[in-house]
């Protein structure tokens, strides 16, 4: 909260001024892993899957903490982009510069001791890939394509390594970019990628404020509540949630669905659970996607690279 300064002192302005863009925290993956383990216990049908993903996310933290990348941008490299409202970490232009493939190798090593029999062939398959083949997988992720059946099981690993590489850069940005405007309002101001989901924060300076969470670099940016993340209209927004059979709230995640363009993005209000986290809670509320698909009115607009549909 910014204060008002007088010659005789300063007074709090009393009005909330939420930050426009939130760069990732250094412990982003550790907190996500914790939440995934919590959710693995709460959602038995997804327990194995979520436990495995929790390991993968924990490994992401390990790689982020432990590895110094071969390439770092020079100081001032992003000044021009920041000044002109361009995403400084544009995924398309940085893909060849970043050594995310080394992050992938480190990630696979970190996972080695934790994978079950079913998953270890995936690690082998990834290790056997040439650089060009890996780049092709990265391209599928950036273009949000499902790839072949054989590739699809490998994509989440590649995406996880890319998240580490981009989050590392986002963490080190000299200053936060401005929030995107116009038609780009739902694209990450750091890397230009699509959001996984929205989150409504509870901290004092951003209480009740909605942020979109990037699917690649973990940056969050403000978008007004009750606004469709696809068509940006605000008049017909419906919120679908999951109740247990006895009427208890099952999970905090909801689907924010727009009656104008018939799309939805998950929204995770942290007031129900302070540790709720957009990517983890999106995965764990998979049943909500299945139910909405069955109902048939709304199509999903969030991209979660840890679960890629066929």
């Amino acid at each position: 909260m910014k204060g008002v300064n007088h010659s005789f002192g300063s007074a709090p302005s009393g009005i909330m001024e939420p930050p426009e863009v939130l760069l990732p925290q250094p412990d982003i993956f550790a907190r996500r892993a914790l939440r995934m383990r919590e959710l693995a216990e709460q959602v038995p049908p997804l327990a194995d899957f979520l436990s495995f993903m929790a390991r993968m996310v924990q490994a992401q933290q390990q790689v982020l903490d432990g590895r110094e990348p071969a390439w770092r941008p020079t100081p001032g490299a992003f000044d021009v982009a920041l000044e002109h409202g361009m995403p400084p970490l544009s995924a398309a232009s940085l893909r060849r510069e970043l050594d995310w493939r080394a992050d992938l190798a480190a990630l696979l090593d970190a996972l080695e001791l934790h994978v079950a029999e079913r998953q270890s062939p995936l690690l082998e398959a990834l290790r056997a890939k040439t650089d060009d083949q890996l780049e092709e997988l990265a391209e599928l992720i950036l273009e949000i394509k499902p790839g072949t059946d054989a590739d699809r099981g490998l994509l989440p690993f590649v995406a996880a390594a890319m998240q580490v590489a981009w989050a590392r850069l986002a963490l080190a940005l000299p200053r936060t970019p401005e929030r995107p405007t116009g038609a780009a309002r739902s694209l990450c101001p750091c890397c230009g990628s699509r959001p996984v989901a929205s989150v409504i924060h509870i901290e004092k300076d951003r209480q009740g404020v909605r942020y979109l969470h990037c699917s690649l670099c973990e940056t969050e940016w403000h978008l007004e509540r009750v606004t469709c993340t696809t068509c940006h209209k605000g008049g017909q927004l419906h919120y679908f949630g999951l109740d247990e059979a006895d009427g208890k709230l099952a999970l905090p995640a909801q689907a924010e669905a727009c009656g104008h363009c018939n799309s939805y993005l998950k929204i995770v209000p942290r007031e129900f659970n302070a540790s709720a986290e957009p990517l983890a809670d999106d995965l764990a509320s998979l049943v909500l996607d299945l139910m909405l698909d069955e109902q048939g009115t709304y199509a999903r607009n969030g991209y979660n690279p840890l679960l890629i549909a066929g």
Binding site: M16, G208, E244, D293, A309, G310
Partner: protein, 197 residues
């Protein structure tokens, strides 16, 4: 901006997509997740942005209604909170505004025109047409009887002092403009606004 915005690149995450999803390809069977649909109930609510009608501050509000906008369903407001994006109030509401839910759902809330005829103690529901006709009649009669063209000194005044108007606070600039135009065109001098109260 070099990023592409494709509004229609939606993703399909249903039963079919899940069977061939990365989750299945990684060796995690989706059957359990698919079967678990039966254990949950889908709930729907609608959120609408609005402005508090109580005073001239005009704080922003988010109104939650049950139901997902389906036709023939009467929505009921069940929760109200401050709109954190509203430039004036940034999410805060005073106790009056925060209590608006009781006002909305109050049994005694006036939802349609009613009249208490002289010498009765009962409120009777009437149609909007009838209400507007009767108000217009009263205004016309009173104005015909009391409109002053000149004052004691013979100066031209064209005023109507025996009827006044109180406008509501929940009005836009445009409403306020029209209110002023209509009241002044009739020669009405006593105009006030509830927003001032």
């Amino acid at each position: 901006m070099s990023v592409r915005v494709s509004r229609r690149s939606f993703l399909k995450l249903g039963a079919a997509g899940l069977g061939a999803s990365s989750m299945a390809m990684m060796g995690f069977a989706p059957e359990q997740a698919l079967a678990s649909i039966r254990h949950f109930k889908l709930t729907g609510s609608t959120m609408t942005r609005n402005i508090c009608t109580y005073c001239s501050v005009g704080c922003g509000m988010l109104l939650y209604t049950r139901g997902d906008g389906a036709i023939n369903v009467i929505d009921q407001v069940y929760h109200v909170e401050g709109d954190p994006d509203h430039p004036v109030s940034r999410g805060s509401l005073c106790p009056r505004g925060a209590g608006v839910l009781d006002f909305i759902n109050s049994e005694t809330r006036v939802k349609y025109p009613e009249v208490r005829e002289p010498f009765t103690n009962e409120w009777k529901r009437i149609s909007w047409d009838e209400a507007l006709d009767r108000i217009a009649r009263h205004m016309k009669d009173d104005r015909d009887r009391n409109f002053e063209t000149h004052d004691d000194k013979g100066q031209l005044v064209n005023r109507w002092l025996t009827t006044s108007m109180v406008a509501a606070s929940a009005c836009t600039n445009e409403t306020a403009y029209l209110t002023q135009k209509i009241a002044r065109a009739l020669g009405m001098l006593v105009v006030d606004n509830q927003a001032r109260v």
